[in-house]
């Protein structure tokens, strides 16, 4: 298939930008749909800098690459011909869904979530240069450390599906933030249900 020339040159620009930033930061986080998620900067250390009072470099926040619009929705896209980064930059398609939600005090995946994760698992398995970081979260209720453990359990649930699909364990990292980084600030069921989640954060080497 052929991409129309406009999209092609856009992708080229995106790739050049991505390449340049990859050279400067070693790894670049990609955010689906350009939601402005902070770039994961692996080069930061941030240890002594904080303690001794000097301002470290760890605070740098940059904006993730905007998702490339893959077309007008009618174009047929040949995933096989796209690089991993191109696929991740698409705002539509199955890989654009990168948040998995959970019930209260539960790490159980719904069948919809499993279907989404199977797609991610296949993608990761087929692209060795891709890594994913699974960030587990909980709602604010209960104790903070218990919620750290719960966020970890959720991330582990997601990880198991990805590995089952053939992703290798060194492609998948987990971290739990418990209730420390809520998506929604409210104190009701609507906010809580959005905060009980695992976010898939991709990097492409």
């Amino acid at each position: 298939m052929k991409l129309n020339p406009g999209i092609k040159s856009w992708l080229l620009v995106t790739l050049v930008v991505a390449f340049v930033s990859a050279c400067t930061t070693t790894q670049e986080e990609l955010s689906a749909g350009g939601d402005g998620a902070p770039v994961l900067d692996e080069s930061q250390s941030g240890s002594s800098a904080i303690a001794d009072g000097s301002s470290g470099s760890d605070g740098a926040e940059a904006t993730g690459l905007d998702g490339a619009d893959g077309g007008d929705g009618t174009a047929i896209v040949d995933y096989g011909a796209m690089t991993a980064m191109e696929q991740l930059n698409r705002t539509d398609g199955e890989l654009a869904d990168r948040t998995i939600y959970f019930e209260y005090d539960s790490a159980k995946l719904t069948s919809e979530s499993i279907a989404i994760l199977e797609t991610h698992g296949n993608f990761i398995a087929g692209n060795g240069e891709v890594k994913v970081r699974l960030e587990g979260h909980g709602d604010e209720r209960g104790s903070r450390e218990y919620n750290i453990a719960l966020g970890d359990r959720r991330a582990q649930s997601v990880r198991r599906v990805l590995l089952f699909q053939g992703a290798s364990s060194d492609q998948v990292e987990t971290v739990s933030y418990g209730e420390e980084k809520p998506m929604e600030m409210g104190h009701d069921d609507a906010a809580w249900s959005k905060n009980r989640r695992v976010e898939l954060i991709y990097t492409v080497n």
């Binding site: 994961l40 692996e42 930061q44 250390s45 941030g46 240890s47 904080i50 303690a51 001794d52 009072g53 760890d58 605070g59 926040e61 005090d105 604010e140 209720r141 209960g142 104790s143 903070r144 450390e145 218990y146 750290i148 453990a149 719960l150 970890d152 359990r153 987990t174 971290v175 739990s176 933030y177 418990g178 420390e180 980084k181 600030m185 104190h187």
Partner: protein
């Protein structure tokens, strides 16, 4: 308590590295008064002998300390029938008629510039005699601490229990709009003198005081992963003691200060470990596919109490520091977590939930009774005062977290309110060494 000791030593303990001036001081609101609190009048101290204006209101600090205890109730200053500064100026009948049981009078003398002598007397109005009188040196820098020591004296004279006013608390402040989003702070028990211990863009969690009060262990996500650090407060020197794959969390100091209990998931699910802080050697205490977290040491250092959901919902368990089979110790309610032990080991405070509300409750290990101490919906992080008489905890109001303290009988409660940010995870530090 000896107060005539050289105060340089106290200075050293108080000296924290300030990353930047921590401006937002906490203030106190008494939210629930107590019937039956003992009436005490604290007369403003005489500072008329000083050449320059005295920088703090000692009597005000003492009066509000005593009020917070719930055991004493200080008389409104506007109602004071007289303003004596020496016991021999006191007309006891006037104070008895004003309904007061106790009276505190005092004065400040200047030895040289910035160097003071504070004298005070605690008087028993009914017996018409002095209970205690003290003279203490003070420097401009430690005047508030001196005032808290006066409160400790008075409290101990009247109740027989050591006062815990001249101690410190640590907590985490989140400030979403600031350059640094998370700050670990240490402050006096009335919220004054907040000082920054660590600032970070990433979450800081679970501060734990070393038994000597000189260090804090905490969890920092500054490397985008959790790691446990131990930081000396005076020097800000710190060591990363745990940075394994997965969870590194919930550090808790052993009573002898030689070990940390902590939670690691490097071997699978979160389990309880102990670490020798000198050798960094780990010992695994639990091995279960459930969540095991929030370890705290019993006062004898022989057992550890922790949260586990091995029964299906979070409950408290106790395990020997030598390992073995944990024993469940909470049975009331579907959710019991985040244990904190009273200094004598008799009471366990916890986050307790029955019907969707998370409150602070206390289990009496002698009687087996569980009493709920708070009445809001999102309470967490209970922490006993070093004399075991108060519990500090965090509660959400609106979009912010605030610190509260409640007496262990649940009768007196006060809020440490704050204008800026969202405060959580308070931990009450140990007594300062005498």
């Amino acid at each position: 308590m000896q107060l005539t000791k050289p105060i340089t030593y106290l200075f050293a303990a108080l000296m924290l590295v300030m990353v930047q001036s921590a401006n937002a001081a906490l203030t106190i609101d008494i939210t629930e008064g107590v019937d039956g609190a003992l009436p005490i009048a604290v007369v403003p101290f005489d500072t008329s002998a000083l050449t320059v204006k005295f920088p703090v209101d000692l009597a005000q600090i003492v009066a509000s300390d005593l009020n917070r205890s719930g055991v004493l109730k200080s008389m409104d200053r506007a109602q004071l029938p007289a303003t004596p500064h020496y016991s021999k100026q006191v007309q006891y009948a006037r104070w008895r008629n004003a309904g007061q049981d106790y009276l505190v009078v005092g004065r400040v003398l200047e030895k040289s510039s910035g160097l003071y002598t504070i004298e005070f007397q605690l008087l028993d109005v009914l017996k018409q005699r002095q209970l205690v009188g003290r003279s203490m040196p003070a420097k401009k820098r430690n005047l508030r601490s001196r005032a808290h020591q006066i409160s400790d004296f008075i409290y101990e004279q009247i109740t027989g229990t050591r006062g815990a006013f001249d101690t410190r608390i640590a907590f985490v402040r989140a400030q979403p709009d600031a350059a640094r989003k998370y700050v670990l702070q240490v402050a006096d028990t009335d919220g004054f003198n907040p000082q920054n211990v660590l600032e970070s863009d990433e979450p800081i969690m679970s501060p734990s005081w070393s038994p000597d009060g000189k260090s804090l262990a905490y969890v920092s996500f500054e490397g985008k992963r959790p790691a446990i650090f131990i930081q000396q407060l005076a020097t800000a020197r710190r060591t990363k003691v745990s940075g394994f794959r997965g969870i590194n969390s919930a550090p808790s100091w052993s009573p002898d200060g030689k070990h940390l209990a902590l939670v690691l998931s490097k071997d699978g699910s979160p389990d309880i470990y102990t670490m020798n802080t000198a050798t960094k050697r780990l010992k695994r205490l639990t091995e279960h596919r459930s969540i095991d977290t929030e370890p705290v040491w019993n006062h004898d250092g022989r057992t550890i109490i922790f949260t586990s959901d091995r029964s299906g919902s979070p409950q408290l368990y106790e395990v020997s520091v030598d390992g073995g089979k944990p024993k469940r110790i909470t049975f009331e309610g579907r959710y019991n977590a985040a244990a904190n032990l009273s200094p004598d080991g008799r009471y366990i405070a916890m986050v307790h939930s029955d019907r969707g509300q998370y409150k602070i409750a206390q289990l009496d290990r002698e009687t087996g009774n569980l009493i709920v101490l708070t009445d809001s919906a999102l309470d967490e992080s209970p922490s006993f005062s070093p004399n075991g008489k108060m519990l500090l905890y965090a509660s959400t109001r609106g979009n912010n977290g605030f610190l509260f303290a409640v007496s262990i009988d649940g009768r007196a409660k006060h809020k440490l309110s704050d204008q800026a940010g969202d405060i959580r995870e308070p931990v009450w530090g140990p007594f300062k060494s005498k």
